[in-house]
Symmetry: C2
Subunit: 273 residues, 2 copies
């Protein structure tokens, strides 16, 4: 029996749309509902407790919408809120960090892995912990990239400023001899060619979006949660902020038509008060 429930995906903003893009391409028969928490972004400057509460509210909201799985398409929310969210929800929760760490360990030949991510994600140490759980002999060199998300969100993916920032962040990983680099932020696929040129063809880049979509697909299949393979799936968008602003910025990240965007409130009553 096909499972007709949608898959819920969330992020603080538009970055997670790169994960949704890969999901839509990998699982064209599944329905997806994407929620962007635009009213409260960015999560970066928030406290851990705040991010955990936001993730909880969104998770509960999506669960009430009847989703069969929640995908945390946000490295910051994953690095601080994943275990709590998994304990709180009845549906399975898949996130961006575990699949990437696993892929990096599978890919590397010299066991020297690099990580480019936001400051909070690097500071959380989650990637390091997971890489060492999977291969205690692998070395992870992590570099925080504070300049990239603001540039990408401003629509800048080709300027000298972007190229120089990428080169600056890539240099320590090249010096460390990394043959595999985790791009641990959902915004970074928009700079894929700039990263690949900075690192050269001998370095394998591992993206959140690709690895997470693969994990979602395998997990749905193994649970018997797949929808009918012959149908065409639908997808829709929810935002806690302004639908128009979301639509405008979102299509660059989704690389597919982003039609209906609906405003929703996810906050719980006591939190609103």
């Amino acid at each position: 029996m096909p499972d007709s429930r949608a898959v819920g995906v969330f992020d603080s903003g538009v970055g997670g749309l790169t994960v949704l893009h890969e999901c839509l391409v990998t699982m064209p028969n599944e329905d997806f509902v994407y929620l962007g928490d635009h009213a409260r972004l960015p999560y970066g400057p928030r406290t851990r407790d705040e991010v955990r509460r936001f993730a909880h509210e969104i998770g509960v909201y999506l669960e009430r919408q009847g989703v069969k799985m929640v995908v945390v398409a946000c490295n910051t929310a994953t690095s601080v809120a994943l275990p709590d969210l998994q304990e709180q929800l009845a549906v399975p929760v898949v996130s961006v960090i575990v699949p990437e760490a696993h892929a990096a360990v599978q890919v590397t030949r010299n066991r020297s892995i690099g990580l480019l991510a936001t400051e909070l994600t690097v500071a959380s140490g989650r990637y390091e912990q997971l890489v060492r759980t999977l291969d205690a002999g692998a070395r992870l060199t992590a570099v925080a990239c504070p300049k990239l998300v603001p540039l990408i969100e401003a629509g800048d993916t080709f300027s000298d400023e972007v190229t120089e920032a990428v080169r600056e962040y890539a240099d320590p990983l090249k010096a460390a001899g990394c043959d595999t680099v985790i791009l641990g932020c959902t915004h970074y696929p928009l700079l894929r060619p700039v990263f690949q040129r900075a690192f050269g063809r001998d370095v394998t880049l591992v993206f959140s979006a690709d690895e997470t979509a693969r994990e979602v697909a395998v997990t749905l299949a193994r649970k018997g949660f797949e929808n009918d393979a012959s149908r065409e799936g639908a997808y829709r968008f929810l935002t806690t902020g302004e639908p128009d602003a979301f639509r405008e910025l979102g299509e660059r990240f989704l690389q597919l038509p982003l039609a209906n965007v609906e405003h929703v409130e996810v906050r719980e009553l006591e939190a609103v008060a």
Copy 2:
């Protein structure tokens, strides 16, 4: 360029041959060398330091044979020696526990997972730790099965004694409502039908052998370590004990011809003295 190096696989005895079986079926183009540490089995009653030293000696021995990867096809050695071995060897080390824990989390619908394994493996807590790293909301119910390995090694897979022991170990997992059961010992595939009958068709059984072979295949592919796809691979056997005894017991576990078995010494000189 195809990578013609063999894959090294080891276990204390014959149990790991069920892992080798799945590897030979999954990767018929790869060469394998299997080492059974019969002179020092079983690892169960050994101290952690002893098992770590044995794993180190075998790993170094296989690395000197020029293998491209070491597979720890032994739950006991994995649960106590894996991180050390990964730090000590230059080649990547894949083991039985991580792929199984990952598979169980992917498979379960109700997030209630059972584990049947030896006393030492259950006591190590490795499965619990990994399952919770992958899904903090999953529950693991673990049952140690001390009667099974001796019965299986004695050639008994159909007696009332076996059926009753399996039923006894399965009961607590059925009572806990587990919909997925990890068979966390390389000997257990020989009782696959007995386990499946005890649990019924609604419970999914996850075997070390299948999941580890899958992880080895994906890892070789992603590293670009695969041998020529069109060739037929060879496999050979080494034992620290008696070749004849190994050959006699081994074919039941390998389910393929087990021709040449060679006696080798893996102990380092200071350890022999």
